[in-house]
Amino acid sequence: MTRSFKSGSALVCALAAIGCGSEDGSTPTTTAPGARDLRMEVPAADPAFLDFVGGEFTIEPGYEKMACTHLRYDGSDIAFSKLKTLQSDYGHHAVLLAAKEPLPPGTTEDCTDRASMSKYDAYTIGDQDLPPGHGIFLAGGKSMVLQSHYINTSSQPILVRDVVRMQKMAIEDVTTWAAIHITNTLEFAVPSYEKKKITFDCTVDKDVDLLMVGGHMHEWGSRFEFFYGPSEAELKSLYLADPWRPDYRDAPPITLFFTNPMRLKAGSIMRTVCEWDNSTTDELSFPTEMCTSFGYVAGSKEPVVCSIGQ
């Protein structure tokens, strides 16, 4: 039974597109002598794959850290069908995001602070395989970051370096384009010691097929639901996380529609509903809390993003 549950786990590794860090991001950044070397070996070059290698950084014992390494793909336009993340012990996740403010390739910055997330756009969702024939577009010259998140629960400093490997797919072999899908709002505030529920709607711009949907909130979320329908009166729930558990911040449940894609028709409504229970002394707003649905759609070469308040 050793590997039976790895497939189930990989299935739901969906989040670093929205991977959120700690409140203040204050972690030691010096490279400690005697750090345990946990760097992932860079695979031998293989024409079937594109390998993106993250920067090296050290995490002190008892600390958590996210580092974002700027990368640029300099090849010609291509597609990829799957990702494989190579990450060592104490790794939480590693994922490719689109860089809004590209820095020279190879630059590694500390992105532990949640506020850093505003510098990146979702692009991939973990090691999620797509249905056969489906490919995600990678444009020549695309600027990205490889975001690596570690939680060092050991008693020694650790030196790490991650690799994300893309399985290439020729453009002509793509039968169906797939892309990330996001609905997100920044327009909410949950008062201290209160419960709050918000609802926001997005309109589907063009016909696409929903392949996967998941929700994203942080530790104070209490319930999340995602609806779809041609009108308000015909909305149908496609995803429910009830109760929302704090652990879902980093690994939420997802609903897959690989075998039965859900057609989202242009002009239809996608409704996202988030509820929170604020047990803190502070008001909760973005990015301390979030209200986001994510997933993949088929039938689009570009990410399908609806963001309220940006």
Binding site: S9, V12, R245
Partner: protein, 166 residues
């Protein structure tokens, strides 16, 4: 209740007296190895699973699972080569109306440490050989069922199936 053995746990338990006996009279005092503890699992699922459009079978079946060290499991699941501390199997887990399964399973004694449970609820009664979730089965998320085994005690844990596999 049912119990299940693993080679790793047997090896660890067998090594305890050897470890305790190491060292010469001139060495610093050898601390005794911690007393293993056990885990008592019952099972539950979420409203989200009950409402999932991918749920087609009644919420009743056999639970299969393996326990890994927490440090060996990331969001991608257990790292390659990660050992199982032990594994379990429990038939007739019925969540059709109950919030939590009436029956439970107790593991063999394992070392005090932090662990993660990864497993499935086989709803279509075909998981006995492969023990891999199929479309429509329930599965756990990679890091949500975490717990600590305490020395010399039985720790009760409710395992939550958060996902309908598809």
């Amino acid at each position: 209740m049912a119990a299940h053995r693993s080679l790793l746990a047997i090896a660890l338990l067998s090594a305890l007296p050897l470890l305790a006996g190491c060292g010469s009279d001139d060495d610093a005092q050898v601390l005794p190895a911690p007393t293993p503890g056990t885990l008592k699992f019952n099972f539950s699922t979420t409203n989200g699973v009950r409402a999932s459009p991918n749920l087609v079978d009644p919420l009743r079946g056999t639970a299969y699972g393996a326990i890994f060290f927490e440090r060996d499991v990331s969001l991608m699941g257990p790292r390659d080569g990660a050992p199982e501390a032990t594994s379990i199997e429990l038939a007739n887990v019925d969540l059709t109306t109950a919030d939590v399964s009436a029956n439970s399973v107790v593991t063999i004694p394992i070392f005090p440490d932090k662990y993660v449970f990864l497993g499935m609820l086989d709803l279509d009664a075909n998981g006995a050989v492969e023990r891999r979730p199929e479309s429509g089965d329930l599965a756990t998320l990679p890091t949500t069922n975490q717990f600590t085994v305490e020395s010399g005690t039985e720790t009760e844990v409710t395992i939550v199936f958060d996902l309908v596999f598809n």
